[in-house]
Symmetry: C2
Subunit: 241 residues, 2 copies
DNA sequence: CACCCGAGATGATCTGGATCAAAGCAGGTA
DNA sequence: TACCTGCTTTGATCCAGATCATCTCGGGTG
């Protein structure tokens, strides 16, 4: 291969060229502002499947923006049991719950090869004082996380198993769609038992439900590959529950 | 009654005299800064039991700091069923999940006569740009809310009924203690069915568990009045679950 | 290619907590 | 004072989903 000629201008503002930039920082930043943001962000080497991004208890100093891949966050109960909190997709921010105590309060593990941007939090905070709108943006993101968590609490409180699975599938569908992927056809990077754990159900129940949903013509599930065939009926399951 | 002579200096900085000031704004603000904060805060008339502070879907413009009393937050499922998200005590901030969408995403109803400080959010944001530390403080509060929500998700996922009730009682105990009240003796402002809903259980189960806990000598429960007799054993129930 | 191993599916059985049904109780009110 | 009315407790029964036990399958490995 011929040696690459590096165009300095194009090296700048990696953020601006990032496909998911509009997801993690969807604000009208001026060119100069983006450069400032760019400067504090550290790009990390790819994270292999099964590798931890951070673990509960470790010192908090940065939040992470997921660029590609997917990550599972979980809490460790005293008994050693793992409680899955959620699945993060490109554009999502990780580690926000660590701000208050100076330690990460959950653990994040890659479900597949993933890449992240590390954002040193103190520097980000300083930048928030300079760049108009950035402060608001971060608060919005945190607000949305709170909102999503509330919905999770509601789902796992009272909904029957069927509705819980339908609900998580529809949520994922939405999130993929929002990222420009198909809303009806996608690959699950998480295992059945991660899904079960996240929903407070047994793996066997999830397995049976997938079979059941297939029989009903609601979807096809070949290993990790999911096709949603009847989104309308799936939402009805969630709503009438 | 004799007409009251108003001392102007004492009217200023109500925040500083507020008993829970250190809970909602536990930062070293200078006298002038507190005055600024004071100026944007609107004191509301007391909210009667059963009255809504805000409802899901209403326009978001302010967050609220609970000064006294207690408030229940909940989501309305499409089916009309109510999902209790949490109980707020003096010093807690309400409405944070509304920041992102410009609408409140949950509803807040007073469980007893309560009072709140209304904080117009846009003004608060502006102040965050002026007062060093305020921005960080708000982010810390939001971070803590995320963290608490994660714990709620974990609790209602897998823990058996016993552990869930023990867990909420211990959490309340902690929170009362943190506010300077007894950790072992307190009044529940919420009904049994609110507790049940919040924990994803049936009222009958809660009722039976209280009886069971009393028989075991873990606590006494006379109507709303609770005395925790054996906190150590209660935590064991949570941990060994 | 044969082997292995962990994820997933399926079947049989068990059980924690829901649901249904009633009765007890406290606080408000006429 | 007696009577509601809504909360709480208690008891009897039922069932959704857990648990236990196999079995299958696909993907990696020597």
């Amino acid at each position: 291969m011929a040696s690459t000629v590096i165009d300095l201008a194009s090296v700048r503002s990696i953020c601006q060229q990032c496909g998911i930039y509009n997801l993690c920082m969807p604000i009208g930043l001026e060119r100069g502002d983006i450069d400032q943001l760019d400067e504090i962000i550290k790009r990390r080497r790819p994270i292999a499947k099964g590798e931890h991004l951070y673990r509960a208890g470790e010192d908090f100093s940065s939040i992470y923006a997921l660029r590609s891949g997917s990550v599972k966050t979980y809490l460790n109960h005293v008994s050693g049991v793992e409680h899955v909190i959620g699945f993060k997709l490109p554009g999502d921010l990780l580690g926000l719950s660590g701000i208050s105590g100076s330690h990460y309060t959950n653990s994040a593990i890659a479900l597949e090869t993933s890449s992240v941007c590390e954002i040193p939090f103190t520097q980000l905070e300083d930048l928030c004082q300079e760049i108009h709108g950035l402060q608001h943006h971060i608060m919005e993101i945190m607000s949305r996380e709170i909102q999503e968590d509330h919905e999770k609490i509601a789902v796992c409180h009272k909904l029957p198993a069927e509705a819980r699975l339908a609900s998580i599938l529809l949520t994922l569908s939405d999130r993929f769609h929002h990222r420009g992927y198909s809303a009806t056809e996608f690959n699950l990077s998480m295992s059945r038992s991660d899904i079960a754990n996240m929903l407070g159900l047994a793996v066997e129940t999830i397995s049976r439900l997938f079979t059941h949903f297939e029989e009903e013509g609601l979807l096809t599930a070949d290993r990790k590959h999911i096709k949603l065939l009847d989104i309308k009926r799936l939402s009805e399951i969630v709503q009438t529950a």
